[in-house]
Structure formats: structure tokens, C-alpha cells
Amino acid sequence: MRRRRELALLGFTLPALGWFLVFTVGPLVSLFYYSMTAWRGLIAPRTFVGGDNFRRLAEDPVFHHAIRNSLLQLVITLPIVIVGAFMIAYYLSLRPRGHRIVRAVLFTPVLLSAPALGMVFLGVFAPSGLVNGFLDGLGRSAQARPWLAEGTTAGIAILVVIVWSSMSVSAAMLASRMNAVPDELFEAAELDGCGHWRQLWQIAWPICREFVGVVTMLQFLWTLFSSAAVVLLLTRGGPGTSTVNLSFLVYDYAFNQSKVGYSQAIAVLLFGVGVLGLLGIRRLFRADF
């Protein structure tokens, strides 16, 4: 009787499971098959070619560029975002004057869609945009330049946009977690003569460690995948191929360059990097006491 009731209840989960299977799991699994086909356009015929696409990737300089840029984006922005967000969160937990204003401002980048974000920063970095206007105002027009049209500065601009758009969200999430830490813990440390710097790293960090791990995972996924929109909208990978990254390349090869099968080999590798990264982050932040 009880068992039958359980099964009847679980029937309620079938529509959601089915949906998840058809629209999430199915496409993800077929990805692996498509990555082994020669396939030039979405409505063109496919032929199975095994590991050919992957062998071609090994000799594709644009792909190597994309790997390098994706890794750089992760290695540079992840520590800045997580450490910066954690310090802001600790600052907010002290409820200094004006902390409500800071909290409210932290939420504004969350509300921007990728196109809004991209278009805002298109204006910021345009030849006659905000940054150059600011330099003009300082009387340093000599340093003004077309930021998005030169390889190095375009790469830096993309890093800036990634940090700008995501550090505040992470800070807001960490601040909520830190609110749940009992004040007594910090008070005891303060009686022992611990300053804020030591309380930050020796008390708050270990207590929130696992949650920091979760925030790091979300940030990692965002940087790896959603940065495609930032690249597409700011530089289209250029000048040349200097700012392509892995997720942008998947889109660009599939929809602009008629290399659908080939692009799916990159998508498979991208997915692999995602899974490995998540496992690595989980290991790094596992509670170890």
C-alpha cells in the first residue's frame, strides 16, 4: 500500500524528468556523435568521420589561440573575483555606514542581459567613448586609443568586462552566507586580539569554505561559457583572431563559418574542461577538518 502510494507520487516527477531528458540530456549526448561528423551546414548532410575533427584541432592555430585565451580568462579573473568578492562580503558583514547602498549597487550588474552588458561596454571602450573621454578630461589624450581594435587592449577589455559583471554577484551571495555566521565566533577572536585581516582569513574563510567553493563553480562556468557573448558583442574575436575563446569559437565555427561538425569537437572539449574544472574546484574547496 505504502509502496504503491510512493510510486503514484513519483509519477508526478515524470513530466519534469522527461523535459529534462529531451531538452537537456538529449542534445548533450548527441553532441558527442556530431563531433565525429563532417558537416558543413545545419541543413547539409553529415558523414561520419571518427576522430578526424579532433586531429584537425591539434593543428588549428585559431583553436590554440582560443585555448590560451580561455585559460588566461579563467586564471586571471577567477582569483580576482573570488578573493575580491569575499573581502567585500566581509566588509558588508561589519555593517559599516552606507552598507545598504553598497548592497543595492552590487545587484545592478545582475540585471543586465548579455547584449545590454556588451553594448554598455561598447560605449565605454569606443574610440570616442567613456575611457577616452575621461583621458581627454585629464589632459592625457596621448594615451587614448581604440581599445577594442588592438589585440592586447581588446583582451584586457574583455577581462575587465568579465570582472565588472560578475564580482558583484559573487560578493552579494557571499555576503548573505556570511550573515549566517554567528557573531560570537568573531567576538571571541576579537577578545583574543585578532584584527579584521586575521578574522577575515582565519575565521570567516574556513567557515564559508564550502560555500566559497559553490560560488567559485558558478563563476567558473560563467567565465568559461557565458563569456562567448562578451567576445561576440565586443570584438567578434578580433582584431584578427586575437580575442577568440573556446565558447565563442563553438558559436562562430557553427553559425558563421559552416564548420558545424568541427565546431562540435570544440564543444566536446569545452564540456570536458567544464566537468574537469568543476571536479577540481570541488576538491580544492572540500572541507578538510
Binding site: E6, F20, L31, S113, S176
Partner: protein, 280 residues
């Protein structure tokens, strides 16, 4: 409060200064956006930070017509509302069942949804387009309505399951004694008691559906009849290469609904973003 920031040591000064400079850096691009949207192009170039120079308001009309943003916003609203309803219709019954079962199967299903939260849908961009073609729904808004709930289901189910677990079993039992079936119990006992979490889920999904870009771009596509305002926005920049004012006005138009929701639900929104991460 014994943990207040007292004194004025050098480290404290650096902390205050650092945070407020950061706040400033967050606000400056938005300030620039807002004032550019009401300025003529020459004023944007000549005095980029002065909000009172060269005021003109026809940027909004030009963005509205040039990008057919009205149509885009209607398409986007249609997709967002329909996908939100569909998500709830799928997630609420699933969460109800998971909250009420104690068996192993239930736990496994819950685990699937918890992990699904970390599946990056972007990786499957091309196979998803192919699915749309197979279903004969390529370049339609309806495929987006079917697709978007799948990405929102994991988090919605997990959050709602946890909320429904807190509903006391006695309430359910007395309803069953009164002859209520599972559906009746769900509608008249669970739904009202989990209204706060339902609101959080609705807001989270509204934000992510409204702001969807890549799937809207490759599936609905750029045809003005079906494209969303998000897809129209970047096209506006190409059509008005040297007209940042028009583009800025376009961005402001697409942001209005989101900021309205934010102002109305600010307190719940912060909880929503937090729980979004906590349950991952």
C-alpha cells in the same frame, strides 16, 4: 554591535576606500549609459560626463522604430511569461512528489535535478538547434518556450522541494481524511504555504528568461516578426554605428521592465540570488 568598523587604522581606510571606489566603478558605466541616452551625438563626444549638455529625447523614438523594439519586447514578454508558466507546471508537481517520498528512487531523482543545475546548456547550442529543426519549430518563439524551462527546472525543483518539506504532515493528513486526492492536497495545502519560495522561483526564472541571448539568437533568429528585444539590441548598434545615443536609448528601453521588477521585489530578489547559489 561589537563587530563594527571602529577606529581609523590605515587598513580600515584602505577597505572603505576600496569598496567605495569599486561601487563608483560599477556605477560610472551605467551613469554614462543613462546620460548618453538623452544627449545628441555631438554632446556625447564633446562633453561625455555632463548630463545637461545637448539634451535631446528623440533617441528613444529612433531606437524604438529603428530596432522595432516594441515588437521585440512583446515577443520577449510572450516567451518569458509562457516559459515561466510552463516551468511552474512542470516543477511544482515534481517538487511536491519529491518532498513527500522517503524512498531511494526519490532521492536519486532529486540528485539528478541537483546535478542538472551545473549542466552548461551552452555546450549543446548546435544540437538544440537541430532539435528545433527536427520538431519543425526552427525560427519560432514557441521552441524557446519549450526549451527555456528545461534549463530552469533543476534549480526550481530543488528550491521548491526544500520549501515543501517544511509543510507539516498533519495538515496533509487532515486534508486526506477529508477525502482530498493528491492534486487537491497540492493545490489547497502546499501551494499557499510555499508561496514565498514560488515567488523566488518566478523572479529567478523571469530574470534568466528575459535576459536570454544566445538561444534566442540562434533559434528565434533575427527576423523582426519573432526576434526578441535582446536580439534586436546589437543589430541597432550596427545600423547606427556612430550614434551611441540611439543605442543607449535602446538599452535603457530593454532595461526598464527588469528594473521595475527589481524595485518591486528588491528584498525577495536578494534572497533569490542567494538561494540560487546555496542550493547548487
Amino acid at each position: 554591535m561589537s563587530r563594527a568598523m571602529r577606529g581609523a587604522g590605515p587598513l580600515r581606510l584602505v577597505a572603505h576606500l576600496g569598496v567605495w571606489v569599486y561601487v563608483l566603478l560599477l556605477l560610472v558605466p551605467l551613469y554614462y549609459l543613462a546620460i548618453s541616452s538623452v544627449k545628441s551625438n555631438t554632446a556625447i563626444l564633446d562633453s561625455p560626463f555632463n548630463p545637461f549638455r545637448g539634451l535631446q529625447f528623440d533617441n528613444f523614438a529612433r531606437a524604438w522604430e529603428g530596432g522595432s523594439l516594441g515588437r521585440g519586447l512583446i515577443n520577449q514578454a510572450y516567451i518569458t511569461v509562457a516559459a515561466n508558466i510552463l516551468t511552474l507546471a512542470l516543477a511544482v508537481p515534481a517538487a511536491f512528489a519529491l518532498a513527500r517520498t522517503r524512498g531511494r528512487v526519490g532521492r536519486i531523482i532529486e540528485r539528478i535535478f541537483a546535478l542538472g543545475f551545473l549542466v552548461p546548456g551552452f555546450a549543446a547550442l548546435v544540437p538544440t538547434v537541430l532539435l528545433a529543426i527536427r520538431l519543425d519549430l526552427f525560427h519560432t518563439r514557441e521552441f524557446l518556450i519549450l526549451l527555456l524551462p528545461a534549463s530552469a527546472l533543476p534549480l526550481s525543483v530543488v528550491l521548491l522541494t526544500q520549501a515543501m518539506r517544511t509543510v507539516p504532515a498533519e495538515l496533509e493528513e487532515s486534508a486526506i481524511i477529508d477525502g482530498a486526492g493528491p492534486l487537491r492536497v497540492l493545490v489547497s495545502v502546499y501551494a499557499p504555504l510555499t508561496l514565498p519560495t514560488l515567488t523566488v522561483v518566478l523572479i529567478l526564472n523571469f530574470l534568466s528568461f528575459w535576459n536570454e541571448y544566445f538561444f534566442a539568437l540562434v533559434i528565434a533568429g533575427p527576423d523582426p516578426a519573432v526576434r526578441t528585444a535582446q536580439v534586436a539590441l546589437p543589430l541597432l548598434s550596427m545600423a547606427n554605428a556612430a550614434q551611441y545615443g540611439v543605442l543607449a536609448a535602446g538599452i535603457v528601453i530593454t532595461l526598464v521592465p527588469v528594473y521595475l521588477v527589481y524595485v518591486l521585489f528588491a528584498d525577495k530578489m536578494e534572497g533569490a540570488v542567494f538561494s540560487g547559489a546555496l542550493k547548487g
